[in-house]
């Protein structure tokens, strides 16, 4: 099977700090890939290198290739906004845009000018898209009567599902989730996990988590990082049940990290 994302010789430095060292790994299409490891091991750095959000950081240096469907996203001539349209992001904390619930979901479509084209055929099209993705994020029932209300009025759990709907509305092929439930209560966290599981057929999902139990619940594939290096990667059963590396075994059993 062709990998959806192929990471080749990725190195990242924050100033003098070598944050990721020679990462080589494949992320298969579909399913949920969990990136696990202790704090500061480079999980988020690896994740944010995929949609090129990493390069916005001051003093960063990135080398290597990240090949998405056969094309290196860091190659010259690649439009970064195009990469980010194909690779969505769900951040650790919800950041609703300063606008209504409806406009938050519609935002991605509107900035890409997709909507003018679609609206010519059918004026109600955007309404349908907003509804579809609010449903996909499991938020529709709670907000359908107040779509014009500011998004900031929603609870944190609802805001995170709104951010999920907003990311999905652009119809990304890959969805990156950076500790997507770390700011949420257990019930809201569970709802996000359910939505992610239901999305994994059409979308390649990459989740960063420091919660091993969450990785157990969600992951089809696992990438284990330790101090900026890749220790082990493979199908979830293999990594969880028959880890090859001593460090993986120690981390999974709670002896380190």
């Amino acid at each position: 099977m062709e990998p959806k994302i192929l990471i080749r010789d990725l190195n990242v430095w924050y100033g003098d700090e070598h944050a990721l060292e020679n990462i080589n790994v494949e992320i298969p299409p579909g399913g949920i890939t969990a990136i696990i490891g202790p704090s500061g091991c480079g999980k988020t750095t690896l994740l944010r290198s995929i949609n090129r959000l990493l390069e916005e950081t001051d003093g960063i240096k990135i080398t290597g290739q990240i090949i998405l469907d056969g094309i290196d996203v860091y190659a010259r001539g690649v439009d970064v906004t195009d990469v980010r349209t194909r690779v969505g992001l769900l951040a650790p904390k919800p950041f609703p845009l300063p606008m209504s619930i409806y406009d938050n979901v519609a935002y991605g479509r509107r900035i890409h000018g997709l909507q003018q084209v679609l609206d010519k055929g059918n004026g109600r099209n955007l309404d349908k898209i907003v509804e579809r993705y609010l449903r996909a994020a499991g938020l529709w029932e709670e907000v359908q009567g107040r779509l014009e209300a500011p998004a900031s009025r929603l609870s944190t759990g609802q805001q995170q599902r709104l951010c999920l709907a907003r990311a999905l509305a652009v119809e990304p092929e890959v969805l990156l989730c950076d500790e997507p439930t770390s700011a949420l209560d257990p019930i809201s966290a569970q709802r996000i996990e359910e939505q992610l599981r239901s999305l994994k057929e059409e979308t390649t999902i990459v989740v960063v988590t420091h919660m091993l139990r969450q990785a157990h619940r969600l992951a089809d594939y696992v990438i284990f990082l330790w101090m900026g290096t890749l220790v082990e990667a493979g199908p979830a059963e293999q990594v969880f049940d028959h880890p090859k590396d001593e460090r993986t075994r120690a981390y999974l059993s709670g002896m380190i990290g």
Partner: protein, 315 residues
């Protein structure tokens, strides 16, 4: 026996110092808070003779200013202030905000660290220096270059045509004011834009928005109240500026009809005349009445903008 006694003394002393420090600071804070009401009261008391001699509406709308004959019409001066401040703000606001956006959203940290202090320096230059610059550079430029060009290109529009363009004009005052207000608006707006959480920018760019789309639809939306506050702050500064303006506006008692006409703002009226001819009691009261008007307008603008801010933040 002496040891525990000493300890309790030291303890009591420590607490006494704490109470003393708190009282001094509280007293000074209350005093600072009282300054504005006290100034309002003092100005009102000193201006009362003129308010009793002429109804307020007449003071504000009369165009005749003949102190020796008892005519005190503020209208030309209020218009002078209004014109000069407006022209200054129109010139200052768009470039200031664009500069602030560049510094906060686009500039690399090193460039920002280099340029921001330079812009802040502008705010520290004494206003008389701006006035001299205005007289030596801006006024001749308007007389020899700007006025003839404006007349040729836009002469049909009364706003850009004057019968007597000497260079000493509303436009000269506006340009000088604009330069003085730049650093204030830029500094505050940059601060406000930088306070927008990074996660919000990332949320937008992670959806594939360009930098400009993120700035336009997200950062500016979020920072709008603060940007308004920055503009109001600049306005207050421009509105009350005296020295630099009176050096370049011409100080002719008339209601300007064009940006090339001379004007006579309220601040210049007070600065040029206070202390002279004080034998006429009403004259003194009239000038302090002008000061009262200035103070009230600035107060109203500040309070109004604060109310707008509070409402926008709650939303």
């Amino acid at each position: 026996m002496s040891k525990p006694y000493d300890a309790s003394m030291a303890r009591r002393n420590r607490i006494r110092k704490d109470i003393f420090a708190r009282r001094i600071m509280k007293g000074l804070t209350v005093l600072a808070g009282l300054l504005v009401p006290l100034m309002l009261l003092a100005l009102y008391l000193r201006a009362r003779p003129i308010l009793e001699a002429q109804p307020l509406t007449e003071l504000l709308t009369s165009r005749v200013w003949r102190p020796l004959k008892g005519d005190y019409g503020f209208f030309p001066f209020m218009m002078g202030t209004f014109w000069v401040t407006s022209v200054g703000m129109v010139i200052a606001v768009p470039p200031s905000i664009l500069t602030a956006i560049y510094l906060a959203e686009y500039a690399r940290p090193r460039i920002r660290a280099l340029i921001s202090p330079l812009i802040d320096l502008l705010a520290g230059i004494p206003s008389v220096v701006y006035g001299v610059w205005g007289m030596l550079t801006v006024v001749p430029f308007i007389e020899k270059v700007a006025a003839p060009l404006l007349k040729r290109w836009l002469g049909v529009v009364p706003l850009f045509n004057s019968e007597n363009p000497t260079g000493y004009s509303v436009l000269a005052g506006g340009i000088v004011l604009a330069v003085m207000v730049f650093p204030i608006i830029i500094a505050v707006a940059e601060e406000v834009l930088s306070a927008v959480p990074q996660g919000l920018r990332e949320a937008s760019s992670a959806l594939g928005a360009t930098r400009w789309q993120t700035v336009r639809h997200v950062v500016l939306q979020r920072a709008a109240p603060g940007v308004v506050a920055a503009v109001v702050l600049g306005f207050s500064r421009a509105f009350g500026e005296t020295m630099a303006v009176l050096m370049v506006v011409g100080n002719v008692i008339q209601t300007p009809h064009s940006i090339l006409d001379a004007a006579y703002p309220l601040t210049a009226l007070i600065a040029n005349n206070y202390g002279e001819m004080m034998s006429i009691p009403l004259y003194d009261a009239a000038l302090l009445g002008a000061a009262l008007i200035l103070l009230l307008v600035v107060l109203i603008f500040n309070i109004g903008s604060r109310l707008v801010l509070i409402r926008l933040i709650r939303r």
